[in-house]
């Protein structure tokens, strides 16, 4: 009976970890056993899943029973056990944290319902130790290493990992595979590996496994592909037959499948410069590869304060030769419109663009494209036959197409007011002389909501254009101005 004894020790240490999570670990050097006796309530949290544990509480008994039922049910229905990883665990460790909240990327540690409000997380001081201002990878790694040094027994490592996961974004390391591997390295090795068939059937050390899953989950959410080292660590920590390992295998499978699924790939790291970002966004919208991006105005450097007026915002536009030709053909009697702002998401950044468009030409004004009879010198360009293509060879889908007016140009600007956009139109006139004769009407949506504020962060959403207009309909969403 050596095995149970070993496991007893493990249960104790994990019980301690749970205690730490409750915030009662005022003295990290407190002996293990006294700690445990102080916090009997933490015992259910530990969920060691070890039926032979001496200190088995009522919760563990229930859990055991549930586990058995779950297994039996699975066996009876013939459902593969590995395919339903979260059905049984949910009953076991009473936590739905990882899949309930899809808004927060970082799962909270399991929160017991019967506990009072939790004070500050433990190990918080490890992250506070970092010299202020320097929130980078080095200081994060330092914090993780400090944990290892302060806790030789890795006491409370589950809580620490959850905390670290939450902190990663602040340190800007949420996309760094080495940091995730470092976090996984915090787990003690070989301890949580199941050693017999029963441990494999029941979830062995569920809280630790869930924590491991949380690490992988966060990697998944940030699109970080695990590598061989991750695999090696997971095997060392949880063994081959474990849920983190299953998750790892699935990530390996599906990440590679989905990595290149997007036909319009985005660079992994978006450019920081708003002009570059706008260029990227415009290229993303415009399908024509021969379209030319023009920077009409660069942002001045001193507009980081809210006082900057729109004359100093960047204006980046794109126009393809076809659009240029269409604009040149446009009937000057018909106005064209500047519309926007419309939002475009580039990974986690939202940018806004405006379009220059016209209404659809009425059918009577459309020019019929005629085929000159003397066109091709070498072979006839059309045959003089009475019959056309047969229905069976008409490969076009029968779609009801809604015709829209032409879009002549697209721009992204730092400000969404009329003064800025008027500058864009002025810039466009250099390459499109026809634009000087066409009246331009600004149809700007007044507000883009709080997203705008959070995205640009420079000024209030679409301030009413400054006093340069003559007549201005207040509080209307459509501002019109004839522009020449």
């Amino acid at each position: 009976m050596r095995q149970p004894r070993l496991r007893e020790v493990k249960a104790v240490s994990s019980g301690h970890a749970a205690g730490g999570q409750l915030g009662q670990n005022s003295n990290p050097r407190l002996p293990v056993f006294s700690q445990r006796s102080q916090n009997p309530g933490s015992q259910p949290q530990s969920c060691c899943g070890c039926p032979t544990s001496r200190g088995m509480s009522w919760a563990q008994a229930i859990m055991l029973a549930r586990g058995w039922r779950g297994i039996c049910g699975a066996a009876l229905t013939g459902a593969p056990f590995s395919q339903v990883p979260f059905q049984v665990p949910r009953g076991l460790h009473c936590s739905v944290a990882t899949h309930s909240s899809d808004s927060s990327l970082v799962p909270r540690p399991p929160k017991p319902l019967w506990q009072p409000a939790k004070p500050l997380s433990p190990h918080e001081e490890l992250f506070r130790l970092a010299p202020d201002g320097a929130r980078d990878k080095a200081s994060f790694v330092q914090a993780v290493q400090n944990f290892g040094q302060h806790n030789v027994r890795k006491r409370g490592h589950v809580d620490f990992i959850y905390l670290a996961l939450r902190k990663m974004r602040d340190y800007g390391v949420e996309k760094d595979l080495t940091v995730y591997n470092l976090l996984l390295d915090v787990f003690p090795k070989e301890v949580f590996k199941p050693r017999n068939i029963f441990q494999k059937i029941f979830i062995h050390y569920p809280r630790q496994q869930e924590c491991g899953l949380a690490v992988l989950e966060q990697m998944e959410n940030h699109g970080v592909m695990p590598n061989k080292e991750t695999e090696f660590l997971l095997i060392q920590i949880f063994g081959r037959k474990s849920y983190p390992m299953l998750k790892f295998v699935r990530m390996k499978l599906w990440f590679s499948r989905f990595k290149n699924i997007n036909p319009f790939p985005m660079p992994r790291d978006l450019p920081k410069d708003p002009v570059d970002l706008a260029t990227l966004g415009l290229r993303h919208i415009e399908p024509d590869l021969s379209a030319r991006v023009t920077v009409y105005q660069m942002a001045s450097s001193k507009d980081s304060t809210g006082t900057a007026d729109s004359t100093e915002q960047h204006i980046v536009g794109i126009q393809s030769p076809d659009q240029q030709a269409a604009l040149a053909r446009h009937n000057p009697a018909r106005p064209i419109f500047v519309e926007g702002p419309f939002s475009l998401w580039l990974r986690d950044r939202c940018v806004y663009y405006h379009i220059l468009r016209a209404d659809l030409e009425p059918p009577e004004e459309r020019e019929v494209e005629e085929i000159p009879e003397e066109w091709n010198l070498y072979y006839p360009i059309q045959l003089d036959l009475k019959y056309g293509r047969s229905g069976w060879d008409d490969y076009e889908f029968d779609i009801d197409e809604v015709e829209e007016g032409p879009v002549f140009a697209i721009c992204m600007a730092g400000a969404h007011d009329q003064a800025t956009l008027a500058k864009w139109i002025k810039g466009l006139q250099e390459t499109n002389p026809a634009l000087a004769q066409i009246p331009v009407i600004f149809r700007l949506t007044a507000s883009t909501g709080e997203l705008l504020a959070s995205s640009s962060g420079l000024e209030e959403p679409c301030p009413p254009p400054p006093q340069e207009e003559e007549e201005e309909e207040d509080n209307t969403q459509r501002q019109q101005q004839g522009q020449s």
Binding site: F255, L289, Y379, L383
Partner: protein, 572 residues
């Protein structure tokens, strides 16, 4: 008409035939051989027997050929011409004195006035040097052809004698930087001067052969023409421009491969004053002039290529029989032998096609042989489009009634078509009357003739299906058109070699058994190629990859790059 007789089983089917076919049957021979192939028929009269020249003509040709051949083999140094990128003046002078600059210029204007057959024969020798061949072809096949075809009597009298003697060299100026075959995008303009006596010509032309040597240019430019309904339109007009008119400059000669000695360069016209009497043809009629020139200048290419190939075979055979590797002559290796057989076969086919076409063109009247001429030259894809579309236009007109009936669901026509398909699929023997007791083809090539008949028959069926499927939108199906043209070129080649080999057998020419071998080899190969191409034209056959091909090119062109991941790339 034999096919149709076989098929007319029921009286109502016969009735429908009588209606749809009668106009054809009663019409005299207006359609040339190639156009009839599109209907699955062989117009035997045109191609069998192989055209011959009379003994007098032959003597005349040989009278020319002897000295020219001697000159080319003894005096023309092709290596030197290629290295220096220039034909020496004395060589040019000799060419002029031999009359080679006016081969097809009528005799009353000082030319040789050769028939097409004789022109082809001389072209064979002239092509022994590529640079000279190109220079001469640009001069007379296109450069001065406009004056012969569309020029007025005064223009002919003024220009042709000097051009024929080689005192003036001609060039043909059509291509522009922005305009290859698209006549609508020609930028060169000719505007009438105020006194209405001159046109002011402005613009530049590229890739003009003889551009640096020529003193007479046939130039195509846009002019404003008042239409019959009073509107002003830009139309193409042809002009005869002399270098002495002023404002004509040319760029530096382009370097080329193999024909370095010919002169190709850009030609610029800047305010060149062209007298109004130098308009070639009508004002605004330049398009037709250009088309006629281009269509007429093609057939001689075949004999020129055959001439080069024959020379090549001599030179390489010499090498293959003397050089030793592994103690054996090169000629003993199978792969080398295969190459010689291929060259001989190609030369034979080219020669047969060229002289068959020349003979057809020399027939009295104005036979419509534009497709045949294009097929002889037909190595590029634009010409293939021309071949296929011209033929399909012809077939489409004749089949209009039938296709309309099929589309309307006329029970008689539909049943008849289905019946025909059934009989075809059960394996029928096609007999278009080439072989047999009174056949036009010699029995030694009868097998090949049967293959030709089968190909022709199914080609006619395929053309009908294609027209039924695509109608006039077949213009857009360029891959289909290319295949149609390929089959047609093969069919014409098969016909030419069969006709020639039959004649050689019957006349007992030297080495006629060799000809039979070549003819049978070519026919068998072409037959298999045709079968494959025909199955590619079948909508549901596994050989038809058009959809996939289109998709690939579409994806590539969408990104404007080769889009596959590198073989060494990984996802993780």
């Amino acid at each position: 008409m034999m096919i149709f007789g076989l098929r007319a089983r029921t009286c109502w089917a016969l009735g429908s035939f009588a209606v749809s076919r009668r106009p054809l049957r009663s019409s005299p021979r207006t359609h040339a051989f190639a156009k009839e192939l599109f209907l699955g028929r062989i117009e035997k009269k045109d191609v069998f027997p192989f055209p011959e020249v009379s003994q007098d003509e032959l003597n005349e040709i040989n009278h020319f050929v002897g000295p020219i051949e001697k000159f080319f083999t003894e005096e023309v140094d092709s290596r030197k011409i290629d290295q220096e990128g220039k034909i020496p003046t004395e060589t040019l002078e000799k060419l002029k004195s031999l009359g080679l600059f006016g081969m097809q210029v009528p005799e009353e204007y000082g030319g040789l006035g050769l028939s097409n057959t004789m022109y082809a024969r001389l072209g064979e020798i002239v092509s022994l040097d590529g640079s000279i061949a190109v220079t001469l072809a640009a001069h007379q096949a296109i450069g001065l052809k406009g004056i012969i075809l569309a020029g007025s009597e005064e223009q002919k009298a003024k220009y042709l004698p000097k051009l024929a003697s080689g005192e003036h060299i001609a060039a043909f100026c059509l291509t522009e930087p922005a305009s290859g075959s698209d006549a609508a995008s020609i930028r060169t303009r000719a505007s009438l001067s105020e006194d209405k006596k001159h046109y002011i010509l402005n613009g530049s032309k590229v890739w003009i052969t003889n551009g640096g040597l020529a003193s007479i240019f046939t130039v195509f430019a846009k002019t404003s023409v008042v239409d019959s309904d009073g509107s002003v339109k830009d139309k193409m007009t042809a002009f005869i421009v002399e270098r002495d008119f002023g404002g004509v400059t040319n760029g530096k000669p382009e370097d080329k491969l193999g024909i370095r000695g010919s002169n190709t360069c850009e030609v610029h016209f800047e305010n060149t004053k062209v007298p109004i009497e130098n308009v070639l043809g009508e004002v605004g009629g330049g398009f037709k002039v250009a088309m006629n020139i281009l269509n007429s200048g093609r057939f001689s290419m075949g004999s020129a290529v055959a001439g080069m190939l024959k020379k090549l075979i001599e030179m390489t055979a010499e090498y293959a029989c003397t050089r030793k590797q592994f103690n054996r002559n090169l000629s003993e290796f199978g792969l080398i032998q295969e190459k010689f057989a291929l060259m001989a076969q190609k030369a034979y086919v080219m020669e047969s096609m060229a002289y068959l076409t020349a003979g057809m063109l020399d027939q009295p009247g104005f036979p419509d042989c534009s497709i045949e001429a294009a097929m002889v030259k037909g190595t590029n894809e634009i010409l293939r489009m021309y071949i296929a579309l011209t033929g399909l236009q012809h077939a489409g007109r004749i089949l209009t009634a039938r296709i309309n009936e099929l589309k309307r669901g006329n029970v008689t026509t539909v049943l008849e078509t289905v019946g025909r398909r059934l009989r075809d699929s059960l394996g029928r023997t096609v007999d278009l009357g080439l072989t047999g007791n009174l056949g036009v083809v010699h029995p030694s090539v009868a097998d090949s003739a049967n293959k030709l008949e089968e190909n022709v028959y199914y080609f006619g069926r395929t053309v009908e299906t294609l027209l039924l499927r695509f109608g006039k939108t077949i213009v857009e199906e360029q891959m289909v058109l290319k295949r149609v043209a390929n089959i047609l070129i093969n069919l014409y080649g098969m016909t030419a070699v069969l006709s020639r080999a039959s004649r050689s057998m019957r006349a007992g020419l030297r080495n006629h058994d060799h000809e039979v071998l070549l003819a049978n080899i070519f026919c068998t190969e072409a037959y298999c190629q045709n079968l494959f191409t025909l199955s590619q034209l079948d909508k549901y056959s596994p050989e038809n990859l058009d959809e996939q091909i289109k998709k690939v090119s579409q994806q590539v062109l969408e990104r404007r790059a080769y889009i596959c991941a590198h073989p060494l790339d990984r996802t993780s």
